[in-house]
Symmetry: D2
Subunit: 115 residues, 4 copies
């Protein structure tokens, strides 16, 4: 069957998560540069169609610990440093989504679908 609007809205939400993650994973990041990176991630992905809002935050304590335990000044961005929420609006279906760590993995999920 052809997809419903709510299914397309969820597909669009997934595109934004995959884009955000694979565009920016691997970026050199430190506590000092985390704010400019999260601002860029938010504004870049908000350009994409049907994307209302993106909020990205870095777990600064996890980031600091990863850098210090490696004896380094910075590390590469990966999912365990990130919390992300996004709101997608496609044809008046509003999808709330999030990415956060669960059992050691960055889990991307659909929180709610409102149509």
């Amino acid at each position: 069957m052809e997809p419903t609007d709510a299914q397309v809205a969820c597909f669009e939400a997934g595109i934004k998560f995959g884009s955000l993650y694979h565009q920016f994973a691997g970026t050199p990041v430190s506590p000092d540069s985390a704010d400019s990176l999260t601002a860029a991630m938010e504004e870049a992905i908000e350009n994409q169609p049907y994307c209302e809002t993106v909020t990205v935050s870095v777990h600064e304590d996890v980031l600091r610990e990863a850098i210090e335990s490696a004896g380094a000044d910075y590390t590469e961005l990966t999912g365990r440093f990130l919390d992300v929420t996004m709101t997608i609006d496609y044809e008046d279906v509003v999808v709330e989504t999030s990415m956060a760590m669960e059992d050691g993995y960055p889990l991307m999920q659909v929180e709610t679908v409102r149509d």
Copy 2:
């Protein structure tokens, strides 16, 4: 409301498209290296959860023309060189998706949802 299995299946499909596109866009590509790149794209994304099959093909004529018109030997991978299809299977919901050019843009879409 919480998402249905079919909605989550579409979300998972979207994640794979966003991942594929933003992981590999920008890769140096020529007609000679297109096959190894498409093979890598398929196998990389098939690692992701619920991803049954990925097929990626490069429009070799479009690629050649882009390279020749620029007087170059290679170019950067972008959506206008690509055709992609994917099958996602989440909790027995099967989602067929595709990416192809439409009106000058790489359009990612859900073709069918079967549950």
Copy 3:
């Protein structure tokens, strides 16, 4: 022969250019989001070893024209929108480098080497 300090300094400069370009190429970008993206690019790459300063600017007119001629709201970041300069300091060898368009290509080059 083993490399001289000046040669290693140039190698390090090249690493930063390749990193900057291939980390961020493909990012969705519009005139409104260009500033946050260039700030993130600068601060991310400045984390890397021996990297003193990075300046990135977007040719907003070229960006606007690319977006308008495509009838779109945003586009993907690529070299023709960018001007980049970097200063690398490795063992007191200072290398000044730049990336700018030349004959339709983003040309990365070493401007000066001072030791």
Copy 4:
């Protein structure tokens, strides 16, 4: 001072390493998909100017251990899974370079410069 040919050759070598690393870091990878990924990495970067040969290998034991210790089926490509060598030839200056783990970090270095 303007750079020598040997310095430019080293700059070009650095560009290839930064490109290879930041283009492909974050790619989903498993023991089964490692070969297609390394083949694509080699052929993609060999497209770039002055790049004679690239060899990429994955430490399959390190990869397997990372995946198993996480209870997963795949992981994201990062430097600790990789060994890379490259030969750059710029104006008859031949630069041999490598990337391998040292003290827990992927160290990119110039091995020899022959002019």
